[in-house]
């Protein structure tokens, strides 16, 4: 379970203080698949970074499975798998297997556990053919698959994805969506930001809508459809934004 209590994050931008996340309080239950919707710069990535214990909140408390992200970062990181979109952040001169082995070791897995996880993940993502090739020569889709496998190498219970299908072709995007469904069946808690409404609609149980660092909606998709009398998430999001601004 993830809880954010009165959470804010400020950044110093030259002489100006920018509040990227403002007084957010919410709870994400175990096994829930939550989509984060918001425009570019709305605060989605900052929120995910704070939950992942990569950034400290300027105010408030975040806990992951009861562990404080500031006071117990190692425990939090051990339970979370993260994939930030755009750049995959892999080591080009190392093979896909070596990349995964390295991160497996950093997450404290032993040799046998790493071997088993790599075997399982390479099978799931259809990466067996190129596991022993250096990542430098991979296509964007192949890189993204290895990056997803890296985020899952330690079999985390909570998974954070930030624009995970950015740059993926249709086949790879479908593989990824199927994989999310599979993780959902395994009762993993998934939090992912996306600007693709169909993706969110297809995969999520509930959504968080963010505008200028503030949460303007948090709730189940079904309730949202009912209250807004529409199943067009794009339309709902835009009308929420207009109401939020006014």
């Amino acid at each position: 379970m993830i809880t954010l209590t009165d959470c804010s994050r400020r950044f110093q931008d030259k002489k100006k203080v920018v509040k990227a996340v403002r007084d957010v309080s919410l709870t994400i239950e175990k096994g829930e698949v939550v989509g984060i919707l918001g425009e570019t710069g709305a605060g989605k990535t900052t929120m995910l970074r704070m939950i992942a214990s990569l950034l400290e909140p300027s105010q408030g408390v975040i806990t992951v499975d009861g562990f404080d992200t500031v006071k117990q970062p190692a425990e939090v990181k051990q339970r979370i798998g993260v994939l930030f979109g755009g750049e995959t952040g892999l080591y080009d001169r190392m093979t896909a297997k070596e990349n995964l082995q390295y991160f497996g070791r950093l997450y404290g897995l032993n040799r046998h556990e790493i071997k088993a996880r790599i075997e399982d993940l390479s099978k799931r993502f259809g990466m067996r053919d190129y596991m022993n090739r250096r990542v430098g020569g991979f296509s964007k889709g192949m890189r993204q698959k290895v990056a997803i496998a890296r985020a899952l190498i330690h079999d985390p219970d909570i998974i954070l994805f930030d624009e995970p299908t950015t740059g993926l072709d249709i086949t790879s995007s479908n593989i990824f969506r199927e994989f999310i469904q599979q993780l959902k069946r395994e009762q993993k808690t998934i939090l992912f930001s996306s600007h693709i409404m169909e993706e969110v609609q297809a995969l999520c149980d509930s959504v968080i809508m963010i505008h200028s660092g503030e949460v303007i909606y948090r709730g189940a998709l079904e309730s949202l459809y009912e209250s807004e009398r529409s199943e067009d998430l794009n339309y709902i999001f835009m009308s929420k934004l207009v109401r939020g601004i006014s």
Partner: protein, 386 residues
């Protein structure tokens, strides 16, 4: 965990051609080139200088000049122009009445014309000058003998110049100047590619984020990376030293005398190893600090030029100093102390106080730069991609 980070960084760097090139090949070429350059400066064999004259010389003077192996006398119609055009190294202008002036004891003038900026011309002028001085002395002695005057009247004493260490004096001076410079430059260039890649490079390709998302503490990540950079620095420094010694011993005649260290050999090797390790740790900490402070590899590269010049610069302050002229203050100034210590070691001087002061100063500086690097690495502002 530290070992995993260190091992990964080493494998990653060893697969990078640029790193290998700068760690091994560049120091090797630099070393070989400089060894041959300094050897040619020391070598007194093979150099031939042409002395231009406008007419045939008096036989006694000519035979005096012919005694010098490096000088060959050649007659030119316009000897001064021959020097200006580079056809001759120096021009000796003696009057045609040379012998009659000498015999009649009439004072006269002899001109030696050359270009002091040109090393060959300068050497030729010195050789001719010295031959003329010697010939002048012989004439004076002859005149005194003819007048039955004892030579001691004009020569109350004789001067005999002796080198403290005749065999290795000049070669040790040469090597003491280039050795620390080459070793430090090799450490800087050997550690630089990995230092750039390991932090600024990780920010560029955004892999730093994935690394910091693991439960490994940032301190461990930093130490692992610093040790990997230092290993390349040490390897580069050791490689430079070994290659310099081998190329000097195998390919030179004069320069190799500087390595005749006798009983001090093992102390010198031990002290050199200590200096290389400390220098590598310091330079790596400095380069890592710059790499963390920079938002991209490109930005880091421009700041790195500071680290390139800093270790080499002090050489100019001690180049003309003898190793026994260094007091303790020389060993308390970072980088200057490395040059001073290397110079002492090459002259066979093993001074524990100098070694301790140098090590202590460098250790303090290592701690300062490492703590600066750590302070930045712990701040999200410096490590997280924007």
């Amino acid at each position: 965990m530290l070992s995993h980070i260190y091992k990964k960084e080493m494998i990653d760097a060893l697969r990078d051609r640029k790193t290998i090139l700068l760690t091994i090949l560049v120091p090797m070429i630099m070393m070989l080139g400089l060894v041959f350059f300094y050897e040619s400066m020391l070598s007194d064999k093979g150099e031939q200088y042409t002395l231009a004259v406008g007419h045939s010389l008096p036989p006694a003077l000519e035979s005096k000049l012919n005694e010098i192996d490096e000088i060959s006398v050649k007659t030119f119609a316009k000897p001064e122009e021959a020097v200006d055009e580079g056809k001759a190294d120096a021009y000796l202008n003696v009057p045609k009445e040379f012998d009659s002036y000498v015999n009649s004891m009439t004072p006269f003038k002899v001109d030696v014309y050359g270009n002091s900026i040109d090393q060959g011309s300068s050497n030729a002028m010195q050789l001719v000058q010295s031959a003329l001085d010697q010939y002048k002395n012989e004439i004076v002695q002859q005149r005194l003998t003819n007048k039955h005057i004892d030579q001691s009247v004009i020569q109350p004493f004789t001067i005999q110049q002796k080198e403290a260490d005749e065999e290795k004096g000049t070669s040790a001076i040469m090597l003491s100047a280039i050795l620390p410079m080459l070793i430090l430059t090799s450490i800087v260039s050997g550690a630089m590619p990995i230092a750039l890649d390991i932090m600024a490079g990780e920010k560029d390709r955004k892999s730093i984020e994935a690394l910091l998302l693991t439960p490994v503490s940032r301190n461990k990540v930093l130490v692992g990376k610093w040790l990997a950079v230092s290993t390349f620095g040490v390897a580069s420094g050791v490689f430079a030293l070994v290659f310099l010694i081998l190329s000097t011993v195998l390919f030179t005649e004069n320069l190799k005398t500087a390595f005749q260290l006798g009983d001090h050999m093992w102390s010198v090797i031990g002290a050199s190893a200590l200096i290389i390790v400390l220098s590598a740790l310091l330079i790596s900490a400095m380069e890592l600090f710059i790499s963390i402070m920079s938002s991209s590899v490109k930005e880091a590269q421009s700041y790195m030029s500071l680290v390139v010049f800093l270790p080499v610069f002090p050489m100019f302050f001690i180049f003309s100093k003898a190793p026994n002229q260094f007091d303790l203050s020389y060993f308390l100034i970072p980088f200057l102390n490395l040059h001073a210590l290397f110079k002492q070691l090459l002259f066979g001087m093993v001074d524990p106080a100098a070694i301790l002061s140098t090590s202590g100063t460098i250790a303090v500086l290592i701690a300062i730069f490492f703590l600066l690097a750590r302070a930045c690495f712990l701040k999200d502002k410096w490590v997280l991609p924007k």
